[in-house]
Symmetry: C4
Subunit: 194 residues, 4 copies
């Protein structure tokens, strides 16, 4: 029961984050096609963030499927993850309204990195609760995606001062890695017939 | 179970889209009735978008009733649909704040068209998952509304440069076509006694 | 099942309306207590609207409890009600930012009136669906509150041009009438042992 | 059933409050790291408010677990609590955008105080409904946290005119007191095997 409410609350927050990001796309003053040009980078960063939140929403769901109940650690690890995700609209707007300038692009990468770490912490909290023979621990296995992603963000952040296109390329690459929903947890659950 | 969460998340996003559109109706500075005049076209475009989101919410619900589970394709086809619908507040505000000027009206039609295609893709993804004897495929039949709507949008977009009233008339016509909730899927489900 | 989703969607929209109204309370520029003075009328109109949405949320819940299923008429009557309620943030902001000036106060009353009519229409749609021996029809009985409220709004709207305090007094009076949750429907349901 | 809807509605409102607060972090105009400096105090007050809403969400859930049904008093006590919590985005933004100036800091404390009183009122309303041998009453026991918190707010409000850092220190202290989820109610429920 408590898990259901945690899921519902998280779903609500994620649904709001993914939607209010669009408010950063300010209605342009002109009414010509040219008036849309400054909106374009905001739209591009919006698309990227939309996909990221979509991925987090999907994986978050899988992660909680594996959890049995909600400990204080899980509760706060979850809110901590939502906190970093809630900074997406701000970072998306800042990066987009500055034509993908270096500092906003690096800041965007920093928030991506923190969200990835928060996700990892939530994963840890659930495994800790399940104890030694954690189903989740065996399901995620070596978790190479979870290890490669922060590494790529760490490369992308300083890279923003050389080329923001390369940074954004790396952000897109990580999104592509996670694009296909992760079926590890589902499969492990099915095997246990639970 | 997973379908429930997809529905709940989609409902949340649609509820937010339909409500934050009203934020584009900026509180006027004067306190006379005349101060409401520039708000009027925004209100009109808000009403149109409100009806469109209402229609999508209703049909989306029927569509998912027919789905058995959630594949990766359905998941992303659904997020893709939500993405285009999330651009409604922006387009509604742009069209309304420019007294239904040609380019914003055509842009609005473009987003309507993309949402219609996204809806069709989601329908495809569900049919694909159900395989050959898809209940949904037989329920929607020839799907004339689904074919006529994009065609009408395609006509309405260039028409905006001749008369924005004609374009908006076509947008209203399509909304009217879909206004009565679609009972095809319900009926097909009832027949199968499921 | 369909009714559940209608309720959940309506709850979502009402939760968003009640919360985004607070966004009309713009953060003042000064940091002295005097800077809060222009916010005060916005806060007052926010409190009034908050109570109104609270009342609608509560009664809406009771009304739907009585409905058996969702017809097309109920669906659109419900969206129609949500539409008028969604204009509350705009009207609340306009009235509040203009120190309760006559035209914004009358406009606020007009939206209250339309919401009351929309609520009555929704009630009608549910009774119509239930047919002759409608449980809801007998539960609401003479519905004196439902008849007195629009009458009071109709008085309050022109009164705004004489004294906005009297209009607002009437708005508060109607809210007070409905403040105690309506137990008629609950009692009728209990009697039927359903 | 009614309790479920009250919970769902409250969850929705809390999810929106916690998320729209981030809208007060206006995207800065510059694209240098220095442009983030004025955002910093807003971010800090956002973090504090995020934790507070997280704590309220968690405790609110526990409180309602103990309630049997929803009386009119509970309904309005709950909306009253949500009202004060809905003022968090405004106060957070005001405090943050003024570098934690005295009046905004004291106002923030006042809203914290009112929210604490509203929470206490909701607790009272539930105990009243349960009658003499209230499970909730025995679960919360002496409720020292519930008594100490308002006292600390009362100290922090005037203190803001001496040092806003001390006030904010007290706000953080209260948050720390409540950080660990309250297990009293859970334990009492478990004992009763309910």
């Amino acid at each position: 029961m408590r898990k259901n409410r945690l899921e519902a609350f998280s779903d609500g927050v994620l649904a709001i984050i993914i939607t209010i990001m669009v408010l950063e796309m300010k209605v342009p003053h002109g009414n010509e096609l040219a008036a849309l040009r400054p909106v374009l980078p905001v739209l591009i960063s919006y698309v990227l963030s939309f996909i990221y939140i979509g991925i987090y929403w999907n994986n978050h769901h899988h992660l909680l499927t594996a959890a049995k109940g909600v400990s204080a650690a899980i509760l706060w690890a979850n809110l901590h993850l939502l906190f970093w995700l809630s900074l997406f609209p701000f970072c998306t707007g800042w990066m987009g309204q500055n034509q993908l300038a270096p500092v906003p692009t690096a800041t965007y990468g920093f928030v991506l990195l923190m969200a990835a770490l928060a996700y990892w912490l939530l994963q840890r909290a659930i495994i800790l609760q399940q104890g030694r023979e954690s189903l989740l621990a065996s399901a995620i296995g070596s978790d190479w995606k979870g290890k490669v992603s922060p590494a790529l963000y760490l490369v992308a952040i300083p890279l923003a001062f050389i080329s923001t296109w390369l940074s954004n390329g790396l952000y897109i690459l990580v999104a592509a890695l996670w694009f296909v929903p992760d079926r590890r947890i589902e499969r492990a659950l099915e095997k246990h017939g639970d």
